[in-house]
Subunit: 206 residues, 2 copies
């Protein structure tokens, strides 16, 4: 080993995350990944087996901390004495994403753009991401259903879906001139979360 800042495997995942985010699955070549990662082409298949499995690895590394944080916040809300407000639930959903997805990114909001890709890529890519977030999706829908019993499950489902889509758009546009999310400083994240909750909260109640 010459002196990679981190291991080959992590290096590949990091570069792949950015390129997949910018150019999509089909638009990203393994050769461009290994060039930027400064590793050998064959290393991808040695460590991951295929391009598709590399994509799955990127999803997993990204999703795990978000899912855990969201489930934790949701559990806290449910443990409280009073049923949580719509706004509190939305905050528990949006905050971890905004935090995790904008953290530790040397350049820009790569992880956010990557998340967006996951929802627009053709199968079987899309299902990979859905599966990774299925647990937290169900949990949130259950809580929402409890405090909004007058709305049908169907309504809650498409509204939740639109909330996620909004979040992803916000993240994908983060840092751009007229974006909600200006930067990745804690105050930026708090401000953006607050604005988004105000934007989405009323519609959630129908």
């Amino acid at each position: 080993m010459v002196s990679p800042v981190t291991g080959t495997k992590e290096q590949i995942i990091s570069v792949a995350e950015r390129l997949f985010a910018e150019r999509g699955f089909a638009g990203t070549t393994l050769r461009s990944v290994v060039n930027e990662a400064e590793v050998n082409l064959a290393a991808v298949h040695y460590h991951f087996g295929s391009k598709e499995e590399l994509f799955r690895s990127v999803i997993e590394r990204l999703a795990r901390p978000i899912v855990e944080k969201e489930l934790e916040l949701l559990a806290q809300l449910q443990a409280g004495p009073h049923p949580p407000s719509v706004e509190a639930i939305l905050t528990a959903l949006l905050q971890p994403c905004l935090e995790v997805l904008t953290r530790d990114s040397d350049s820009q909001f790569i992880r956010a753009q990557f998340m967006g890709r996951c929802r627009t890529e053709p199968e079987p890519i899309q299902s990979m991401a859905d599966r990774e977030f299925a647990e937290v999706t169900d949990a949130f829908l259950d809580v929402l259903q409890r405090i909004l019993p007058e709305q049908s499950r169907l309504q809650l489902q498409w509204k939740f879906d639109l909330v996620i889509m909004t979040l992803i758009r916000v993240l994908a546009e983060a840092g751009k001139p007229h974006a909600v999310l200006k930067g990745n400083k804690p105050e930026d994240i708090r401000a953006a979360t607050e604005q988004l909750v105000k934007f989405l909260g009323p519609g959630m109640r129908s």
Copy 2:
């Protein structure tokens, strides 16, 4: 000519629209387009010059009727004696899209998915679509600014962007089990528009 239902050029655009929508720009091969369109491979470069120009042609055919309809509805609103409500503006924005994008599609909601692609493809694809809708975007922002003067232009811009993103998501998911938009019948479109306006209207006012 053996017996193409319509001209070669239109045939190519129609198939390309669907495949671009399903697989994205990079994920769609010209060979798959000409196979399904039952035309010769060279016809693409004869009629369009390149893959990129083919994509532009798809955008143009799709955007023109929507832009015209939206500008017309907006002009009607402004011509009225009273300043229009947020809800009326949202309806003028959403209705034409829902109508045009779900009309005449033999199979499913292809045009809608295609619109979504335009916003997530890498440059220069994304700018192509932006340019095509720039006029109507500016017009809507101006009207919104007039009736919501207490909000900054910046706020209105990102909110408008989120509305468009929501619309695209609704269209992309149209027809699926838990979608807002159930089908392409007039009553389905009216119902979906109404639900969306209720969902987005309050947030628009902040």
